[in-house]
């Protein structure tokens, strides 16, 4: 059992949890993730470790409430215990030690790119950050990103904050002006695909983090299979970081989109429910006892 020490609501239905897990906090490196099961018998979900504090033994995770499991996890409050956390899983991100790096992310990707920005900055790179969101309300971790990047560009799609625009436009203008060594991108599949297509034209090294559906998160089920460089690999063992130019995004999006659609109707009632159980069965039980 792992105790939740702190909980922060960052934006609408995006929450941050700080969990006490000393073994994982001592080991986790930027880019790795943990698999969390809120209650016994639930699905396990992979979530990126945003921050780990070795001295306090704490790891931080940020997630959006979209499926039934994340909704349940979002309802946990400070002091409650999560059933199981396994990690750190996946390979750590490869950190460059010099050069100019552009880290670009939208929506939930911002949370996942933060540890990578920090690590690159610490190693001695110059980091330019670009974050985008639909509206100001959905913009995450702006202050933290400003601290961990040399320069940060913010774009909102409706112009409610800083400037109206899309993150990829900023990337295009930066790539024209400066010589960039590496582009690191995390976001939705279409977004990553568009960034990769931009960087491919200029032949700039690109790394992406893929977040496919996972079941056991340790290479036993094959649910997270992705095609990279014509070969089928598992994102939980060989990833989640991949070379952006080699990933077959069309193949990847086929499966993921369907799961996203299914996620919305996941909470529908079981066709096999027999309407017995809960309070009804208890009253029946007690009445039987009283009669006896």
């Amino acid at each position: 059992m792992f105790e939740i020490k702190n909980k922060i609501i960052l934006a609408e239905d995006i929450k941050r949890l700080d969990v006490y897990a000393p073994d994982i906090a001592a080991k986790s490196l930027p880019g790795q993730f943990v698999s969390i099961c809120p209650e016994e018998g639930d699905e396990r979900i992979p979530l990126t470790v945003i921050d780990s504090d070795f001295n306090k033994g704490m790891i931080s995770i940020i997630f959006r409430e979209c499926g039934s499991t994340t909704k349940k996890l979002g309802k946990f409050s400070i002091g409650e215990k999560v059933s199981s956390i396994l990690g750190p899983l996946g390979l750590p991100a490869r950190i460059e030690s010099k050069g100019l790096i552009v880290c670009i992310a939208t929506d939930m990707g911002t949370a996942q790119i933060l540890p990578i920005c920090r690590a690159h900055r610490k190693a001695g790179c110059k980091v330019i950050g670009i974050i985008g969101a639909k509206t100001k309300r959905q913009l995450l971790l702006e202050a933290q990103m400003r601290l961990s990047c040399d320069k940060l560009h913010v774009r909102t799609e409706d112009g409610s904050y800083v400037k109206r625009g899309v993150a990829t436009d900023v990337l295009k203008s930066i790539l024209q002006e400066k010589k960039v060594d590496l582009v690191y991108v995390i976001g939705s599949i279409e977004f990553m695909q568009s960034v990769v297509s931009i960087s491919k034209k200029q032949k700039i090294k690109t790394r992406v983090q893929l977040k496919p559906v996972m079941v056991d998160c340790m290479g036993m089920c094959g649910a997270c299979r992705v095609k990279v460089g014509g070969e089928m690999v598992l994102a939980c063992c060989d990833g989640p970081e991949f070379d952006g130019h080699k990933v077959d995004f069309d193949d990847f999006s086929l499966r993921q989109k369907a799961f996203e659609e299914a996620g919305t109707c996941q909470n529908s009632k079981s066709p096999f429910s027999r309407k017995n159980g809960g309070a009804g069965i208890l009253t029946k039980l007690f009445s039987d006892i009283i009669e006896k």
Partner: protein, 398 residues
């Protein structure tokens, strides 16, 4: 195992003695009593063959004596770490604890059992029976550390620094073999391991009350003819789905016990022998829309005495299915073995071990079970675990 001994005890009604005699050699009697491939029954010399498996199950299930439940023993020998709590790891732990070693099992999931808990559905091995068997092993002084993924949460070098004299790798073969079938990447195609894991991990094993937490269509096709394929088919039938089992050879050539096949048929799995899937067809939403198949037939015997199969010309047809489950074999998990420097692997990804003393290429590290043999029945994994325990014993006494 002393089979005549325990059969005699059962005949005399001494279930406790029978159970004790079994557990001296076999640490998982109620599991083996259910899903063992029972090679002993095939070579039985009695005139009417004795069903040893059923007797073992009877002895293990009917033995309930709360008075014998004592606090776990404390062992004082050298420390040994076992990675993985599947059948092979448990058998090795049981055997080493009998030799008075301090054994610690590292398990990544919440509960020990490995494939028996997460790969075999509830109706074949009830989790309660598995818990019973594991508590017997616990009583011998074996410690089980869950939520600990060796290689990630703790590395092998750190285990040696912690004072473990030997390490046994028994992580099994859990990664599915990917099938080279067009359309195998669209939504609604599961691999057998994933399907069973989803069924077992979530509460979906209580079939009547819980909805599957994943997309499962009304018509399910399972590709494969092994135990995993049959388990998947039978689990899907329990969700109220129409299930057909598609495989290339005939029913008689399936690698399952005959009784399992009969049970599957009685439960309503449609067996479709002599069919080879060619392509999984997507519908407009990129879900599974159908399965394109070809009929096969026997043509000629090849040089090894095996019948050769060829496609029947113009026999391509389409099966109307919404979900496809592929269960055509598995290979070892590569995550741990890649993290140990200097560990030599075979071409197929299995660990290379010395035939004589069971050691791997790294000193102090042993391997057993399916991570060495790649595939095999439960019994072979347990036996190899026991052999590894003997090897470790010899290595530590040297």
């Amino acid at each position: 195992m002393d089979i005549p001994g325990f059969v005699r005890f059962i005949r005399e009604g001494q279930l406790q003695s029978a159970y004790k005699l079994i557990t001296e050699e076999n640490c998982l009697p109620s599991v083996c009593g259910r899903i063992c491939s029972a090679p002993c029954e095939n070579v039985c010399i009695e005139s009417n063959r004795i069903s040893v498996r059923a007797l073992e199950r009877f002895a293990a299930d009917s033995y309930r004596s709360p008075f014998l439940r004592r606090p776990p023993m404390k062992q004082r020998g050298k420390k040994i770490a076992i990675i993985g709590s599947g059948p092979s790891g448990l058998a090795a732990a049981h055997s080493l604890a009998q030799k008075k070693y301090q054994v610690t099992i590292f398990e990544a999931f919440d509960k020990p059992g490995g494939v028996l808990r997460y790969g075999v559905p509830e109706f074949r091995v009830p989790k309660k029976m598995l818990d019973n068997d594991i508590s017997q092993i616990n009583n011998l002084g074996v410690q089980i550390k869950t939520h600990c993924f060796v290689g990630q949460t703790i590395t092998v070098d750190e285990l040696f620094e912690d004072g473990f004299a030997a390490i046994l790798i028994a992580t099994g073969a859990g990664t599915p073999k990917f099938m080279d079938l067009p359309g195998a990447n669209i939504a609604g195609v599961y691999y057998g391991e994933e399907f069973l894991m989803r069924v077992n991990l979530t509460r979906a094993n209580i079939f009547a009350r819980y909805n599957p937490s994943f997309i499962l269509g009304d018509h399910v096709a399972v590709i494969g003819s092994g135990n995993t394929a049959l388990d998947c088919a039978r689990a899907a039938v329990r969700f109220g789905r129409e299930v057909s089992l598609v495989f290339r050879r005939t029913e008689e050539e399936m690698r399952v016990k005959e009784i399992e096949r009969i049970l599957g048929k009685e439960e309503g799995v449609h067996f479709e022998p002599l069919i080879r899937p060619v392509e999984i067809l997507p519908d407009q939403n990129n879900f599974v829309g159908g399965l394109k198949c070809v009929r096969m037939d026997y043509a000629d015997m090849d040089s090894t005495g095996k019948w050769e199969l060829i496609e029947v010309p113009d026999s391509v047809f389409e099966m109307n299915v919404d979900t496809v489950i592929i269960a055509v074999g598995h290979k070892p998990n590569s995550l741990l073995t890649h993290n140990i420097s200097g560990l030599k692997l075979n071409k197929s990804g299995t660990i290379k071990i010395d035939e004589d003393d069971g050691t791997t290429s790294v000193e102090g590290i042993f391997a057993s079970g399916n991570v060495v043999t790649n595939a095999g029945p439960l019994l072979h994994a347990m036996v190899s675990g026991k052999h590894a325990a003997d090897d470790i014993d010899r290595y530590l006494k040297k």
